[in-house]
């Protein structure tokens, strides 16, 4: 009875874009974007505001036509089979809204009707998705009384009503509190593992989404600057070996650490030393500090750090103004 969804059924990747381009007059919102999202993968499209993330999503949903290039969603061309694509893709728009005078259930029922679900199927699904997002208690409350976090969760429920094989979430973590973000990410992970849903999410907040994304694409000014696993990206910018070192005891530790062979940079970061090196220098650091009479309070290797990636790709971009006019208008 859960008819039109064949999760992971079709051939090829769940989402595919090749040289996808969208121009609005002089501005190029999306510039020759090529990505592939495999089935069951969680892909993060990351970039600052105005990078063209939403435009890309709209093209994938067939809501705006690409100027050139090719898009495939579940093997379908969104421009030619928009209804079929939209019946398989759950979409949480940026700044999602609901009919304020209707209850959560009534809002979702409308979505179910638009997806041509029968009354019985709709009722059962709505109950389940509301449970998934933890809104069962608010099911018959008018959305007008909802907090932003609740609306966001209801938005996810709304995207899930059609039982999509692909979920596209546009800035899903914006405007919700940290606990809400955590719950949302857990839900995404659960959907992926339990139902094999493919997830494409866009965000400008890398920290919030890094833990759920299998791969990320860094998207700046309409162009994909880098794409891969977080580890691979960290490798790419030579930021693979970073250590946090906490030392108790007097001494000029910056010099001591800098003199350790292989260390390339030492900075002070949140009360600890932050050591960058070209390899695993933990034992050398240990020996040097102990030899200088220090006691460790902390020594760890940082996970490949999106902070560095962020700075490398976003902040530097903003710093040099040469592309300044390009793509700012597209959110």
């Amino acid at each position: 009875m859960d008819a039109p969804v064949e999760a992971g059924s079709g051939p090829g990747p769940a989402i595919e874009a090749r040289w996808l381009t969208k121009r609005y007059g002089e501005t190029t919102a999306v510039d020759r974007l090529s990505i592939e999202v495999q089935r069951g993968e969680v892909f993060g499209l990351l970039g600052p505001n105005g990078a063209g993330k939403t435009t890309t999503i709209l093209m994938l949903l067939g809501l705006t036509e690409p100027t050139s290039g090719l898009a495939r969603v579940d093997g379908l061309d969104p421009t030619r089979s928009p209804l079929l694509v939209k019946s398989r893709v759950g979409y949480l728009p940026d700044e999602v809204g609901f009919y304020e005078d209707l209850t959560a259930v009534q809002n979702l029922r409308y979505t179910a009707e638009l997806n041509r679900l029968s009354k019985a199927v709709a009722a059962e699904r709505i109950e389940r998705v509301l449970d998934d997002v933890g809104l069962t208690d608010a099911a018959d409350t008018k959305v007008g009384a909802f907090s932003r976090g609740m609306r966001q969760r209801l938005g996810v429920a709304d995207a899930l009503v059609k039982q999509p094989s692909i979920l596209i979430l546009d800035e899903p973590t914006v405007n919700i509190d940290p606990e809400g973000v955590r719950e949302l990410l857990l839900l995404i992970e659960r959907l992926r593992t339990e139902q094999g849903v493919t997830v494409l999410l866009s965000s400008h907040l890398l920290h919030q989404v890094q833990q759920v994304c299998d791969r990320i694409g860094i998207f700046v000014r309409g162009q994909l600057r880098a794409c891969g696993t977080i580890d691979a990206l960290a490798d790419e910018i030579g930021d693979r070996w970073t250590f946090a070192v906490g030392i108790d005891g007097p001494g000029s530790w910056e010099e001591v650490l800098a003199r350790v062979p292989g260390v390339t940079a030492v900075t002070r970061h949140e009360g600890r030393w932050r050591v960058q090196a070209d390899g695993d220098v933990r034992s050398a650091i240990h020996d040097a500090v102990v030899a200088a009479g220090g006691r460790f309070t902390h020594l760890s290797r940082d996970e490949a750090d999106l902070d560095a990636i962020y700075h490398r790709y976003f902040v530097n971009e903003d710093g040099n103004g040469e592309n300044g006019a390009n793509g700012d208008s597209a959110a």
Binding site: P4, G10, P11, G12, R18, W19, T54, L58, L61, L63, T64, S68, G69, L70, R72, G75, L76, D77, R80, S81, L83, L84, K86, S87, V89, Y91, P93, D94, E95, V96, G97, F98, Y99, E100, D101, Y110, T111, E113, L114, N115, R116, G155, D158, K162, A331
Partner: protein, 336 residues
């Protein structure tokens, strides 16, 4: 670089051909939801009450003189129709009230049709469901039209029923046919305002702007239209104390034709002949033309043909405005 693997292309065609029929009739789903919203809204209640009160006042004041006249001249045909057209005591007749207040009904159900969804953030969700984009605006127009038809039917039933009660005379079959024709013209006239309001709701991002613009257009035609037409006519054909009757007539004709640019005059022309079987022209009656006319009632078909181009203009205007709204909506970006 735009090579499409043929296998994918075929699969896609096959799948599309097989599955697209599943998604028919999206406009009906939209219309049903919108209509439910309309009918349950306070807006609907207020507008129906306003029209009903105005209608009752008009019919109440009309029924007194009709009763008095009917006692003396029982031969008068179509007494019932006088309920809608007679305006003693400076209270406008029902069809005039409707000409003035009807547009509010149309504006009320349309001014936030699209921009309301946009502002609420529901439009993005709506367009990402498996319905064609035009089904959204079609559904909304159908829902608005249905709400208007329902509201007007309710008001006319109340008003007509009350009038018949006061009069002690029910409508004859031919009266009823004329009332139905009047009803249809009124619905078309209000639909024109609905189409205008929906067009404005597409063009302007804010509902308040759309509502104010629509009301400005409404005021322009219903209130100032006559004034402006009068001033222009006076400028072209000077009328003073010793003006010839030709000049007076030319002045009046020009004023009337200018007023016909506005939909309210078209409506008044059409409903005037439809509700008054003895009227033989939509134009200005002077003794000259009237003296030659037979003092008999026209059949409904003849009354209709008298007002034919006015009817066409009203329907055409509504269609043109809706077409404008449709095109504007289809061309608009989802986030504008």
């Amino acid at each position: 670089m735009r090579t499409v693997p043929t296998v994918t292309a075929q699969l896609e065609l096959g799948a599309a051909a097989a599955a697209e029929p599943l998604f028919r009739g999206g406009w009906l789903i939209v219309a049903r939801k919108e209509l439910a919203d309309h009918v349950q809204s306070i807006r609907f209640l207020v507008l129906v009450m306003l029209l009903a009160l105005a209608g009752l006042a008009a019919v109440h004041s009309a029924s007194g003189p009709i009763r008095a006249a009917a006692d003396s001249a029982s031969q008068t045909p179509s007494i019932f129709l006088y309920l809608f057209t007679l305006s003693p005591d400076r209270v406008p007749a029902f069809h005039e009230f409707l000409g003035i207040l009807g547009p509010l009904l149309g504006i009320g159900f349309g001014f936030d049709a699209v921009n309301g969804e946009r502002a609420q953030g529901t439009l993005a969700r709506l367009v990402s469901q498996p319905i064609h984009r035009d089904e959204i605006i079609n559904g909304k127009f159908v829902a608005g039209l249905t709400a208007i038809a329902l509201a007007l039917a309710a008001v006319m039933a109340i008003v007509g029923g009350y009038g018949a009660l006061r009069l002690g005379v029910g409508p004859t079959w031919s009266d009823l046919a004329r009332v139905v024709a009047f009803y249809l013209v009124a619905v078309a006239y209000i639909a024109l305002w609905l189409a205008l309001a929906i067009l404005l709701s597409v063009l302007s991002t804010r509902a308040a702007t759309a509502a104010l613009t629509a009301i400005a257009v409404w005021l322009l035609f219903t209130l100032f239209g006559g004034l402006i037409a009068g001033i222009v006519a006076d400028g072209v054909h000077k009328v003073d104390a010793n003006a010839s009757s030709e000049a007076v007539l030319a002045n009046a004709r020009l004023e009337l034709n200018l007023r016909r640019i506005g939909p309210d005059q078209l409506y008044r022309d059409a409903t005037g002949v439809l509700l008054n079987p003895s009227r033989q022209s939509t134009g200005i009656l002077v003794n000259d033309t009237a003296s030659g006319a037979l003092p008999s009632d026209l059949p409904l078909a003849d009354s209709l043909s008298l007002a034919w181009w006015q009817l066409m203009a009203i329907v055409g205007g509504a269609v043109a405005l809706f077409a404008g709204a449709y095109v504007a909506f289809m061309r608009q970006e989802v986030r504008a």
